[in-house]
């Protein structure tokens, strides 16, 4: 198997984007810290920073959206099987998501030394922002599973667009808006039953039923990753060169 070469290629393709992204995040972090220190604000004064890792979620979604066609074509130029290509893609997603999750936690720890900084994870699951080894590990697992899921959703959307003809592309683009409106309408005629069901599902999905359960959430997120992953593979399995 040429898996190592495929992973190497895919990571190499993402490398420059990752470097630019973290350079921007680094600059933003420095600006935040310097603004805080110039203003003489401290964590004890109820000034909070947070959510930079939300940018990582957007970044990896865009990476997922853009990482299919060009890589697929190049792998086809080199007669790589679709199975091999997909396997390589999965491993590269895991590597990039792990790297980003780790770096986001490091950024969190650094920013926390200057002011109170809350990651998305700590805002959802931690009552205080005391980052211990076990909460950092919990944060890593949760971020890792979430980033892999988001990357896979982006990838799945890219493949759906690739496999669709013009009419299907329009249908796929319009479908989310139609679905939201239909659900909104159904919600209004069912006295909020749809909204309640969505809320219930969200609470369960994110491990917020009867307390805070980030590991349970990670399992659910990973299950969603597998679902999108299976659909993506089914679409790739016989994807022609257009």
């Amino acid at each position: 198997m040429k898996t190592i070469q495929i992973v190497k290629y895919q990571i190499q393709q993402a490398k420059i984007a990752l470097m630019i992204y973290y350079a921007i995040i680094f600059v933003i972090a420095i600006m935040l810290v310097s603004t805080m220190s110039r203003a003489g604000l401290k964590a004890s004064e109820n000034v909070y920073l947070g959510g930079l890792d939300f940018a990582s979620m957007i970044f990896i979604l865009v990476l997922g959206l853009t990482s299919f066609k060009e890589s697929y074509y190049f792998m086809q130029a080199n007669n790589i099987t679709r199975k091999g290509f997909y396997k390589g893609h999965l491993l590269s997603i895991f590597s990039i998501a792990a790297f980003m999750s780790f770096l986001d936690i490091i950024i969190n720890l650094i920013l926390n030394t200057f002011s109170e900084y809350n990651t998305v994870f700590s805002q959802i699951y931690l009552r205080n922002n005391s980052m211990t080894v076990s909460t950092a590990f919990m944060n890593f697992i949760w971020s890792f599973s979430l980033l892999t899921l988001i990357a896979m959703i982006g990838y799945f959307i890219a493949i759906v667009y690739y496999r669709s003809n013009t009419v299907m592309k329009i249908v796929v683009s319009v479908a989310p808006f139609v679905l939201i409106n239909v659900l909104g309408y159904l919600n209004s005629i069912t006295d909020g039953a749809i909204g309640n069901a969505v809320n219930y599902f969200n609470t369960w999905m994110w491990g917020l039923q009867n307390g805070y359960h980030p590991y349970f959430a990670s399992i659910n997120i990973f299950a969603a990753f597998i679902i999108f992953g299976v659909f993506s593979y089914l679409l790739i399995r016989k994807a022609p060169i257009k």
């Binding site: 040429k2 070469q5 290629y9 074509y73 080199n78 790589i80 099987t81 022609p240 060169i241």
Partner: protein, 287 residues
């Protein structure tokens, strides 16, 4: 061993039949010419052989193994596709280096030598290459891959006469040193007729002829001379085409080559020469 066996291959695009029940064997270390008119199914056949497309029916075996998602056999093929499958913003040199990662026997020195010979700028981005240079680049990758099966789909697209000549010579040199199975799909039949050993002619998705170039060329002959003499000679012959230049005519005839002692030929000063592959092709593919 790199024998390709195609069994009852059929491919539909929706309701359109692109490949119609083709069965054939490509034996190793020969140069095949895959000929056919536009839309005959040549590219579809090559795409099927390389698993870029999937057949509706039938199967393709390489060394007795089905090619479907078979990395071992697919890695034995390098396919110079007519379509540009390379990252547009990547530099030519980088693409060459990545290709070496996927083809372990890739000859980097040979690739650089050929780039120099064809004046290909290795620092250019792929999207900056002209149609001709994109073809040259793909030719270089294909030859340098050292894969046992090389497939060329319209390799001379956009190449000027000098570069075409260089390509043919390079292919012959390569082939003489490294025996390889080569399939060339092209429209310029006259130019490749001296290179190809076997001819495959496809018409409307059907394989209508599979034979050695030699057999095909000796299945008929060309007779040239004064138009009235040629017409008289042709009366009982199967003429597949004619060309007129003033009072002179050349006719392309199927059948055994007449002996040099033929009294009519001697009396009328008619000249007999080899059959033109292109004329044969036109005759066979004209519906």
């Amino acid at each position: 061993m790199s024998k390709i066996k195609i069994k009852n291959l059929t491919k539909y695009y929706g309701k359109n039949l692109a490949i119609d029940d083709i069965s054939l064997e490509i034996t190793e270390n020969k140069i095949y010419g895959l000929l056919g008119r536009n839309g005959a199914g040549k590219t579809t056949l090559l795409n099927l052989i390389t698993n870029k497309l999937f057949p509706t029916n039938g199967e393709i075996l390489i060394d007795s193994e089905n090619i479907f998602e078979n990395e071992r056999v697919l890695s034995q093929i390098y396919y110079m596709s007519e379509k540009n499958l390379y990252p547009e913003t990547m530099k030519v040199k980088e693409i060459i280096k990545w290709t070496k990662d996927f083809y372990p026997n890739f000859d980097l020195d040979y690739a650089y030598k050929l780039s120099d010979k064809f004046n290909l700028n290795l620092k250019s981005k792929f999207k900056a290459l002209s149609t001709g240079y994109a073809s040259i680049f793909k030719i270089i990758l294909t030859l340098s891959s050292r894969a046992p099966i090389l497939l060329f789909d319209e390799p001379i697209l956009g190449l000027d006469a000098n570069h075409r000549d260089m390509f043919y010579k390079e292919l012959i040199n390569y082939y003489s040193v490294t025996p390889t199975t080569v399939i060339i799909s092209t429209h310029l039949i006259e130019e490749v007729s001296d290179i190809i050993e076997e001819v495959l002619i496809i018409k409307d998705g059907k394989l209508i002829l599979s034979d050695t170039t030699e057999n095909i060329l000796f299945s008929g002959y060309t007779v040239s001379g004064k138009a009235e003499d040629v017409d008289a000679f042709n009366k009982d012959k199967k003429v597949i085409g004619e060309d007129n230049i003033g009072k002179f005519k050349s006719a392309y005839i199927l059948g055994p080559i007449p002996s040099k002692e033929d009294p009519y030929l001697n009396a009328s000063n008619l000249e007999i020469s080899k059959l033109d592959l292109q004329k044969m092709f036109i005759q066979l593919t004209n519906s």
